[in-house]
Symmetry: C2
């Protein structure tokens, strides 16, 4: 009795250590000593608690040090699991993930906007329950639930904001709805922001200031500022698709304005222009297919779209001075035509100071980057200095004694 109380207390005290390991701030005992500022005795003791309850593990990797190599520590992937879902235009992609994060189990269900938020969330919940049944036995407890949504989201309030393609979702309290069914933190975030988080955490964790541009049917972007996703006052930051350019023949945009970037360079706009030229195209995928078939009209329009995107990108570079721009989305699969258009305009329009150390690259084609980004979002928040304690409380409550 006395022992278990003491162990619980020790576990609660281990929160700082856990946060440092989980956030990647320290991945060895030696690094923990420096990062935490605690004595070796204390670090050892607390780390032992984390190791014994199975939250942290010693990996096989070691880091050379000149003497005895230091053993690399890491969060144990199977210590818990997350439920994530990516709502797309026609389908919802769902998965249960471990803490690496890797996908443990996944499925796809059809999605129709007409169903409205409550019915859709119910279907997501049903599917989550199915996935959860698969992994619960082997992966302990539910760490968090995270939703990717293809519209602007007010992250703090956990709701879709503003009218958008998701009719009827505006201001629906998604977090509360899901919160009634799960005893874990719930996150709702815009899909482009999650792709941005994926690119940052997964591929470029050391880059502090970067932009991810998603060029698909629509055009959007996500901003990493100072190593963290930047959302702006209402979660609408990065909305570059509706920046307008003046021109005599400014096309009409879906948003009702004239000359938006999206109406010039979005997948639907290129498809529109291709259709005018008598080619069969409706979606961004069709556009890329035509480019891959080497149709000159499609190549020309894709390059021109790159130039248009490059025009906004140059604004973004002037305003934010990032060190990296990653271009993803369906149009990015059209190869270098898009990219070279973007590069051309950025280097033409920005001052040398801003472009001297700037890299502009294509993202790897990846269909589940929003999903993995959603998992990173959970992990980053749950293990953040301010919230590890809550995590440990839940862990203590749930784990089998």
């Amino acid at each position: 009795m006395v022992k278990s109380t003491r162990e619980q207390a020790s576990l609660a005290n281990a929160s700082e250590i856990l946060s440092l390991i989980a956030s990647g701030a320290a991945n060895s005992r030696a690094a923990l000593l420096v990062a935490s500022g605690m004595s070796r005795v204390t670090v050892t003791q607390r780390l032992n608690v984390l190791l014994s309850v199975g939250l942290v593990e010693e990996t096989l990797r070691t880091l050379p040090s000149g003497g005895r190599p230091t053993r690399v520590l890491g969060i144990k992937g199977s210590a818990g699991f997350m439920l994530v879902a990516d709502i797309g235009e026609t389908h919802i992609h769902l998965a249960a993930m471990n803490l690496v994060p890797d996908i443990l189990a996944q499925s796809t269900i059809a999605f129709s906007i007409a169903e409205g938020p409550a019915a859709t969330l119910q279907r997501i919940k049903d599917e989550f329950d199915r996935l959860m049944a698969e992994v619960r036995a082997s992966h302990g407890f539910l760490v968090g639930v995270s939703l990717s949504i293809p519209t602007p989201v007010d992250f703090k309030r956990g709701r879709v904001v503003g009218p958008s393609v998701l009719y009827g979702w505006d201001d629906f309290d998604i977090v509360s709805w899901l919160g009634r069914h799960y005893d874990a933190p719930i996150y709702v975030e815009n899909d482009v922001n999650l792709m941005t988080i994926y690119e940052h955490r997964h591929n470029f964790p050391d880059v502090d200031d970067m932009i991810f541009i998603k060029a698909g049917t629509g055009i959007g972007s996500g901003i990493i500022a100072g190593g963290k996703i930047f959302r702006g006052a209402q979660g609408a930051a990065g909305d570059i698709g509706h920046i307008q350019f003046n021109s005599p023949d400014a096309p009409l945009c879906r948003c009702g304005k004239l000359g938006c970037v999206e109406a010039r360079a979005g997948g639907w706009a290129i498809a529109r222009d291709l259709a005018e030229k008598g080619l069969q195209a409706e979606t961004a995928r069709d556009v890329v297919a035509l480019v891959e078939m080497q149709k000159p009209e499609a190549i020309m329009l894709l390059r021109r779209a790159g130039q248009t995107i490059g025009e906004v990108a140059s604004d973004v570079v002037s305003i934010l001075n990032p060190s990296l721009i990653v271009v993803g989305g369906m149009l990015a699969r059209g190869g270098d035509f898009l990219l070279s258009g973007i590069r051309e305009l950025v280097y033409q329009r920005c001052l040398p100071l801003a472009t001297s150390d700037l890299q502009i690259i294509l993202a790897e084609p990846k269909t589940d980057s929003a999903l993995i980004g959603a998992a990173h979002l959970v992990l980053d928040d749950v293990f953040s200095a301010g919230k590890v304690k809550e995590f440990l409380d839940r862990f203590t409550a749930k784990r089998p004694c």
Copy 2:
């Protein structure tokens, strides 16, 4: 002997409390308890040390609490002083400031670019020494030195970056030069960023995401993202003056490109256009004087400049989704003509979601905002969680036993 050692140790331990008070995170004993998570005994003891050495004071203000009101704490303004200088186009404005920060003593010296960095810094140092002599007796020790410079600055390296109006300053190691003469941290920052910090810390401390636009001879901006100044990868963030717009008659900019915002709406550009119309104008000040004289050409051009600035501002709003835009600089003294032009374009071009909670206002005319911003920069850094200890070490070393 034992007592003084113990007192030094206590003082070193008080760093967290000091940081919380100085940063404004907690301004009463009750708030300190919550914010620090320490026991009342510990807070009391450490606070007493800070009070006894004169770093913190109890103000006369109290906060109602339902019972006994809580006494408001604050950094003692006279516990130290800072030296700040603002390098302008023709003059350098220097000041010694207390920790409020208020100006204690100030002076202005002439400035010529031709002198080059070393000679100029020598003159700044001489003047600083004079100011320091005035305040040293009454205000303890030197907390920091901060320089405002009218060009892009790589804040981390403490140098001017890129070719600019300051010929010969590019890559000169300002921080090291000054560091040889002062045993205190040295800061070098761009003037627009400092004005932004001033507006944020002094007038809108609770706004997390805002933009400050300086419309003077040139045009620039500063970004507060998540409550902190955002500098970008090389310190060039906010450079909206050289964003280009296409148009048939794009004017040539000072930077060598065509159609930059600055070449259309900067003070020098408006003066150029007024001179073409036969009016006497060379500087932004002349432009404002003509507007105040109700010259219709000047009013028209100022409004048009507002529209041009509004065009970039709308890009900035789409990209960053701030909740506040403050417009300052000499042209802002021309009254509402500039502002209404900006508002017009922002509301015309941005999506309702981004503008629904957006305020766009004029800054109070203030000549020393960069100077005060420079002081805030020192205070924010010196009292930040990571650096309070260094501050306390210097304090301990300097203070008369």
